[in-house]
């Protein structure tokens, strides 16, 4: 019963509640609608505001991104400017090798006739002696091409265009750059590292021509062909040892048509600074060659031109020393350079008279033992007294020494059949002044007096120009 009552009450309450709600709806609904509308309006305003702000933000972000783009472009252009500024290569042709060209020429007054120029007492190099012709001469034009091959090698070609319209390969070699422990290997042909001046190209010489001992013992300069190994010691004092081996290419060697090592050289160099103003370099080197049928022309006692030759062993030893001075070690204004080299050569083997059988004295060929012990030296000093201007003096001296020529005793020949080999101590003195407007050009005047053969005093005067085009040259010591 109680349950029924409760249920009835609940039912009643439910039934009565509905009309009450219905009664409230009209007023309240309006209110609610209004509230909702208010709300909607508010939201719409706020959404509008938000939308506006979004739009603003969007445009701002667009501006920002435009600004960012601009900044990026600016950065890029700055970077490219920086790239340019730091000289980074921009194109494939940046891999082109460095090419330089040396132009040389001279005007000479030469007495006596340069065709008769002979250094008495010494078997002459087969090539022409390095004395220029009279009048206007073109020197050798040198074309130098050099570049890194890859991370492991560099390569270099020096082609000499001679005034006789010939092209010669003076140097062509590849060299390692990455060997450990101070080693460098080289293969090809190059100016040998023996002595001091030998490695320098003629345009870097302090005088127009090579010193007399270089002319007598190497025909001007000694080229090596084969392989070279150098080692620099890891010491504060500069110490370098080296070996060159291969085919005899130039005097005193010959190309012997063998696969062995027919001309080898060794060198040791040592050097350093004395205080800040002085620097020095000393060297000891040796060339050992085994020439075969190394020919030279002479005039026999009947006045006929004959071709003689030498085969055997030739050993030349060179001691060199260079001292340089500049105030505070700054050579730009004033500097002084002293350079000297001593040469000592021994040759043992067989000499052949009249290789081609043209002599009217005794037709050859006739062969007999030949040996010689000869020496020579030069010393030179060059002083730059004001910027651009230098003056220099050089003295050359040769000693024909002891020569044993079995051909001249017996066999029907005498010393008169070998006038070139007659004992003599040639000497020469040279003075020069040069003017270098820049590091790339040099004008030089040189005067020389020589006494290179018995009873012949020669005078030579030279005006020379040397110009270099292309990359900056190296400041060799």
């Amino acid at each position: 019963m109680r349950r029924t009552t409760i249920a009835a009450l609940v039912l009643h309450a439910l039934l009565c509640a509905a009309p009450a709600a219905r009664a409230a709806s009209d007023d309240e609904l309006a209110q609610i609608r209004k509230q909702i509308e208010d709300l909607k309006a508010t939201y719409e305003r706020r959404i509008q505001a938000l939308e506006d702000r979004l739009k603003q933000a969007e445009s701002a972000s667009k501006q920002a991104s435009e600004a960012a783009d601009k900044a990026e472009a600016a950065a890029q252009s700055a970077e490219s400017a920086a790239t340019k500024a730091t000289g980074r290569p921009q194109a494939a042709n940046a891999f082109n090798p460095a090419i330089s060209l040396i132009l040389q020429g001279q005007y000479g007054w030469v007495n006596p006739d340069p065709d008769t120029y002979r250094i008495q007492g010494f078997i002459p190099p087969s090539s022409d002696l390095a004395v220029g012709a009279r009048g206007f001469n073109l020197g050798e034009s040198e074309l130098v091409i050099t570049a890194g091959v890859d991370p492991y090698f560099t390569g270099r070609l020096v082609a000499a265009l001679t005034p006789d319209n010939e092209a010669e390969v003076e140097e062509a070699f590849a060299q390692t750059t990455r060997l450990p422990y101070g080693f460098t290997l080289r293969a090809g042909r190059w100016r040998s590292a023996i002595g001091y001046q030998n490695e320098q190209h003629p345009h870097a010489w302090d005088f127009v021509d090579a010193p007399l001992p270089y002319q007598a013992f190497f025909g001007g300069s000694y080229l090596a062909q084969g392989i070279q190994a150098r080692w620099v010691a890891p010491t504060d004092l500069y110490l370098e040892l080296g070996f060159e081996g291969g085919q005899g290419l130039t005097f005193p060697g010959t190309q012997n048509n063998t696969s062995g090592f027919t001309a080898n050289s060794f060198f040791a160099k040592i050097g350093g600074d004395i205080g800040v103003s002085y620097a020095w370099l000393a060297g000891l080197s040796q060339v050992r060659a085994s020439p075969k049928d190394r020919t030279f022309d002479d005039i026999d006692s009947a006045g006929g031109l004959v071709t003689n030759s030498f085969s055997g062993d030739s050993t030349t030893t060179i001691a060199d020393f260079v001292l340089k001075w500049a105030p505070n070690g700054n050579p730009a204004e004033r500097n002084f350079k002293f350079q000297t080299e001593y040469f000592w050569r021994s040759e043992d083997g067989t000499a052949t008279f009249d290789q081609f059988g043209t002599s009217n004295v005794v037709p050859g060929p006739l062969s007999a033992a030949y040996s010689s012990r000869q020496s020579g030296w030069y010393a030179q000093a060059v002083y730059q007294f004001v910027p651009r201007w230098r003056a220099g003096l050089r003295y050359d001296r040769l000693n024909s020494g002891a020569v044993t020529n079995q051909l001249a005793s017996g066999l029907g020949l005498s010393a008169a059949d070998f006038p070139l080999l007659a004992s003599y101590n040639p000497s020469r003195i040279a003075a020069m002044v040069d003017f270098s407007p820049t590091e790339f050009s040099r004008l030089r005047f040189q005067a020389m007096k020589d006494d290179i053969a018995d009873g012949v005093t020669g005078y030579q005067y030279w005006l020379q120009y040397i110009m270099s085009i292309g990359p900056h040259g190296a400041h060799q010591f």
Partner: protein, 301 residues
């Protein structure tokens, strides 16, 4: 032939067996970079400087002593931008040291770290000895030194990782002292703004750019060409009409031409140390700028 080869082989073994250097061996081409390496490394590096402040860095020769130092250097710190074009390539090829070849970590060019001024518009030697990459004399703007120091500290850390933290910490310390000093120098040098000057060679451009100096002439008629009488006469005439406040030349340059023009035009000739060691006061990088600015201020008075 056998004997020298034996000696070579024996020496090679001796070298291979020698102990590795404990400290970093640095070959600096110019004194400013030697000083900077010392700031960053302290006693963790052995520095050999190839040139002094009395030497024209363009005209140095590849002396035997320099080749020997290149042989055993772990790190080469040079200006680059062709300043050492006459001698550095020879040191690299004759020194036979693979770790300092171009492109290796041991080869550091300061000029690569900064923006170079005076990029030539034309490369022709008829315009004098122009540097293709731009003006390489970057050290007289201390902001360049700061940039180089950061890059150098990182490079040294790369080569000697054991001391990397020392290099970085010392560089941070250097940078904070350096920035303070730059503010001081800029305040001191405020009166130098627009100061008209004549220079010997175009090696002061970065200082001009930093302090706002106005270069109105050079003693050299063209870069690298020594002063000629005709050019100096023209310059003197110009200075009489439109005087400069100073004729500036570097410690390594001959004072003759500057003093001659000074006597004729009544413009004082001012020697600047140009790099560390160029004057008594320029004992280190800080002294270099202290002295340079005080010399310019003296001329301005």
């Amino acid at each position: 032939m056998k004997t020298p080869l034996c000696i070579l082989a024996a020496l090679t073994l001796a070298v291979a067996a020698a102990p590795v250097h404990a400290t970093l061996n640095v070959l600096a081409c110019e004194p400013e970079w030697g000083a900077l390496v010392s700031e960053i490394a302290g006693d963790k590096a052995k520095v050999y400087v190839a040139t002094t402040a009395q030497q024209d860095p363009h005209h140095v020769q590849a002396r035997p002593a320099l080749i020997a130092r290149a042989r055993s250097a772990d790190l080469l710190v040079c200006t680059g931008a062709e300043l050492e074009v006459g001698w550095l390539p020879l040191l690299l090829s004759k020194g036979a040291n693979p770790s300092i070849q171009v492109g290796q970590p041991g080869y550091f060019e300061a000029a690569r770290q900064v923006t170079l001024l005076e990029l030539p518009r034309a490369l022709d030697r008829s315009l004098g000895d122009v540097h293709a990459a731009g003006n390489p004399h970057i050290q007289l703007d201390p902001r360049n030194i700061a940039k180089v120091a950061d890059a150098l500290a990182e490079r040294m850390a790369q080569i000697a990782p054991a001391d990397a933290e020392t290099f970085r910490a010392r560089n941070r310390d250097f940078q904070s002292r350096w920035q303070t000093a730059i503010k001081r120098w800029e305040a001191q040098a405020a009166p130098l703004q627009e100061m008209p000057i004549v220079v010997y060679h175009k090696n002061v451009s970065y200082l001009e750019n930093w302090l706002g100096l106005k270069e109105i002439g050079t003693l050299e008629p063209l870069p690298g060409i020594p002063p000629t009488p005709s050019h100096l006469a023209e310059l003197i005439a110009k200075l009489r009409a439109d005087p400069a406040r100073a004729i500036i030349y570097a410690a390594y340059q001959s004072p003759q031409a500057a003093e001659f023009v000074s006597a004729q035009s009544k413009v004082p000739a001012v020697m600047i140390p140009f790099t560390v060691g160029g004057s008594d006061r320029a004992k280190d990088l800080f002294g270099l700028f202290d002295d340079t600015i005080s010399r310019l201020l003296d001329a301005q008075k």
